[in-house]
Subunit: 108 residues, 2 copies
Amino acid sequence: MIPIITVEDEMKRIKKPWSPKVIARVNDQVIRLAMFKGTYPMHKHDNEDELFQVIQGKITIQLESNQKIELQQGEMAVIPKGMKHSPNSDLTSYVLMFEPATLTSTGD
Amino acid sequence: MIPIITVEDEMKRIKKPWSPKVIARVNDQVIRLAMFKGTYPMHKHDNEDELFQVIQGKITIQLESNQKIELQQGEMAVIPKGMKHSPNSDLTSYVLMFEPATLTSTGD
């Protein structure tokens, strides 16, 4: 039987920020749901693009050289591999991230 | 500059059903947005899983042997490679699909 993933239900199971939970696998990619609250340190992924899709709330992603993108509910953006980024959410936001199953952060 | 993809804006640009539009690329995957209305024929993808995320509306995906899954707004499901499926939407629905950039349907 094919499992149905209800994002809102998964959101309720997440109790702390910056702890993504894999909610689906598709090919060699995973879809992870995370609570964003506060600021996650600047980092990059050398070999993988990372897509952010805001499900609830509003986030900013700080890039280098003072560039910053703002994403609200229903918006998404892809951070290309190798690009340093630091996600932030003043309030509690929920974000889906699409990335290879093998992704690991390389902190700075 | 990183483009921000606003799903609702992309929805407005889609005028006919079953004509997915690539709205983002992440690694070797594409994210396609489609209007679902009516029934798409039973088919399968031999080598690729396909994720369906309902953005607006309600769809059913008919599987073989009379199994059927129903997905509403905020729900998603992964159809594994090789599994025959026929999506349907009585009303107009909008669905994001995540799949390899190389995916082609193999009709039945």
